[in-house]
């Protein structure tokens, strides 16, 4: 019989002689941010590669988490319904009504108007339940108790900043409240966002998997921190440019602030990853934002990797952008001494010496 740690118990009830549906003892959150139009799902499970089954999201359409004795087809079918303009509660009703295994299913849906709805089948293993509110739905099964979803909700509502940070805070809170009774194995975060210029963000704005790990939420946070220092920082600046072009300076400012927030978070947690610090500092320097924090980050990164000429170049760039031409020249000269043949560093030094021409 299959009752292993990876294939779950709930399905056994269905039939002992069939391959059971993959079971996801899971807690998850689906959410919508009306300002940025991000839609996202974050999930943790005592099942292998939860990203494969539970989270579904499409920009301008909606976000879905399908779990417990998982009916994965709820994901694509639900997105089809949302795409046609059905509201989240109607989608949940339609999916559940169509499914003979409905009492074993758990489902959470949020649409692009922020409407949300959930279903927890009566045969989901205890504790199982959900909480919904404007712009979010939180659901879980085989949990330590109701506190898991209650604490996830509180964390989501009380965490400021971007959607991904709020989703991850909810996962942390769910785990801290006891999480999944059977432990942890995989986690995922999926956030999508409309973009005219960068179509990839519509399906993959943030899309990180932890497939099989002893501490998946911790690992998810670790990879998210790399992501936010690199690709996400770049994405924010792309959105800032797009908003500027559209005359939405307020929203452009929010995007740039996000990069600064990421930088501040990195400094606050005492980030020891030189490349993360360097990535954020460089992005801020290039765009002339959060320069004091960028300086702190670059100095810290140089301390961690004193012979890394790329990081020294970042520090020099920050100095230069802050108007400290002398220090920029001094640091870049030191970098060039380490790599005398580097044509890029030579050009940078000449630029700093010339001054002014930022």
């Amino acid at each position: 019989m299959i009752h292993g740690r990876r294939l779950g118990a709930a399905a056994l009830v269905l039939s002992a002689l069939l391959i059971p549906a993959l079971a996801h003892a899971t807690f998850s959150i689906v959410a919508y941010d009306s300002t940025t139009q991000e839609l996202g799902v974050a999930v943790q499970s005592r099942a292998f590669s939860v990203a494969e089954a539970v989270p579904w999201a499409e920009a301008g359409v909606g976000a879905i988490a399908t779990q417990a004795s998982t009916n994965e087809s709820f994901g694509p079918l639900g997105l089809d319904m949302l795409r046609k303009g059905m509201a989240a509660p109607d989608v949940v009703r339609a999916l559940v009504d169509s499914d003979s295994g409905q009492t074993h299913r758990q489902l959470g849906v949020v649409d692009v108007h922020g409407a949300s709805a959930a279903h927890t089948g009566k045969d989901c293993s205890s504790w199982a339940g959900h909480r919904t509110g404007y712009g979010y739905s939180i659901q879980g099964n085989i949990l330590a108790g109701e506190a898991v979803v209650a604490d996830m909700e509180r964390a989501f509502l009380n965490t400021p900043g971007e959607l991904a940070a709020r989703l991850l805070a909810a996962l942390d809170a769910g785990q801290a409240a006891g999480g999944d009774k059977r432990g942890m194995q995989s986690a995922a975060i999926l956030v999508v966002r409309p973009s005219d210029e960068f179509p990839e963000y519509r399906t993959r704005y943030i899309d990180l998997h932890v497939e099989d790990s002893k501490s998946p939420i911790q690992e998810l946070r670790r990879v998210f921190q790399i992501h936010e220092a690199t690709k996400l920082a770049e994405a924010h600046l792309r959105y800032a440019d797009a908003y500027e072009k559209a005359g939405r300076k307020d929203l452009a400012q929010t995007e740039r602030t996000r990069v600064g927030e990421a930088l501040k978070r990195a400094l606050a947690r005492g980030e020891n990853d030189a490349s993360n610090l360097n990535g954020l500092a460089w992005t801020c320097a290039e765009n002339g934002v959060f320069l004091p924090e960028a300086l702190q980050a670059a100095e810290r990164a140089v301390k961690l990797e004193p012979k890394n000429t790329g990081i020294m170049d970042t520090l020099a760039e920050v100095h230069f952008k802050m108007g400290d031409q002398a220090k920029a020249v001094e640091v870049e000269t030191r970098a060039l001494a380490l790599a005398p043949n580097d044509s890029y560093l030579t050009q940078q030094l000449a630029r700093f010496r010339a001054g002014g021409a930022k």
């Binding site: 497939e211 670790r222 220092a229 360097n278 790329g310």
Partner: protein
């Protein structure tokens, strides 16, 4: 400048600009040093991409696949948008070669790009821009294209093509074999960081396979291909075994019994691979043995897998039940009863186990 181990890209961007004689501040251009394969299987209609890179989370940037449409890898000085754009063009019915021409006509930095495309008729093409960093190149074959940049040499992509051609069985195995061959041939000059395997497959009964048949990631790891192989081995024992049986049912319902048979064989092949590599993951052995036993196939291997699982966890009632079921299906009812009684002596309250014993004692009534 950004030149850390995680965003080497930006350095390469600076390099490109420096070569081009720009004197201004470096722009953030993402240069992924990467090798990848895009492929189409005409029997199963799978479309897939496998990729490795010295780049964080390559799975979110390089591979783009849509069932019934095509598979795309966009890399080098990567323009991620080429992925969804190419899929949108392929979806209109354009061939891979026409799509490549269309991308070339609109992309302003085409000389720095590397792209591989295969369409849903198996026509494969690739492009390596003259500005891609050495060694850069690739080749195409029937139903596949391999391409890479900043590689140890041409042996890397040649090795990939050879491994893909010569590996038998399902596409995922063949794609991973290609990655492993690339790495064995020197791989990415700058080392390794992430890998991904993405395969889509059309299904009328299970729409999730259209967008997510196999989607495995290694985001940030010292040995990403090895880790990808590890998670793949878990995946094929669980999700994929289910998927194969779903497709077998779908094909049977359509009267395509030859294809249904092939799907069931895949599950058996997964189990044989698990036995061959001496897998010690009890739940995997148990899962595969259970799948085969309950579908009356590969029963000898199912008995062996369940035995091994049971040797590792002798008091695991579920594994004993699987072993008993496998014995029973294999015509060894006496052994089935004996094993199930052992299980029942561990879990004395189980109604299910008692029912199983009664069933085994009655003998085969299929």
């Amino acid at each position: 400048m950004i030149r850390p181990r995680r965003v080497p890209s930006f350095l390469a961007g600076a390099f490109v600009l420096a070569c081009a004689g720009f004197a201004g501040p470096a722009l953030a251009i993402q240069q992924t040093s990467t090798f990848s394969i895009v492929a189409y299987d005409s029997v199963t209609q799978e479309l897939g991409v496998a990729v490795q890179s010295k780049y964080f989370s390559v799975g979110t940037a390089v591979p783009w696949v849509k069932a019934g449409v095509g598979a795309v890898a966009t890399q080098a000085n990567v323009n991620v948008a080429l992925g969804p754009q190419a899929l949108a063009l392929l979806a209109t019915g354009m061939s891979s070669a026409d799509v490549m021409r269309a991308l070339a006509a609109t992309d302003t930095s085409w000389a720095g790009r590397q792209v591989g495309i295969v369409d849903a008729q198996g026509r494969a093409v690739n492009w390596t821009g003259p500005r891609c960093m050495d060694w850069a190149g690739g080749e195409t074959g029937p139903g596949f294209a391999v391409q890479g940049n900043i590689l140890a040499g041409p042996a890397v992509t040649a090795g990939m093509a050879k491994a893909y051609r010569e590996t038998k069985g399902e596409m995922a195995e063949r794609l991973i074999a290609a990655l492993e061959a690339a790495q064995a041939a020197g791989g990415d000059k700058r080392g390794m960081q992430s890998a991904a395997l993405m395969i889509m497959r059309p299904s009328t009964t299970h729409p999730q396979y259209n967008t997510r048949y196999i989607d495995l990631r290694v985001e940030d790891h010292k040995t990403p291909i090895k880790e990808l192989r590890r998670v793949w081995n878990i995946f094929e024992g669980f999700h994929l075994a289910n998927a194969h049986l779903d497709f077998a049912d779908e094909y049977d319902a359509e009267g395509r019994h030859d294809l249904a048979r092939l799907e069931r064989d895949r599950v058996g092949e997964s189990m044989q691979r698990a036995l061959k590599r001496n897998d010690r993951d009890v739940s995997l052995l148990n899962g595969l043995a259970w799948a085969c036993a309950t579908h009356d196939m590969f029963l000898g291997d199912a008995v062996e897998a369940a035995k091994r699982g049971s040797a590792i966890e002798p008091r695991n009632v579920d594994v004993l039940d699987t072993l008993a079921e496998a014995y029973f299906r294999d015509g060894q009812a006496a052994k089935a009863v004996e094993v199930e009684k052992r299980a029942a002596s561990i879990d004395t309250k189980s109604v299910y186990l008692k029912q199983q014993i009664e069933r085994f004692q009655k003998g085969p009534v299929q």
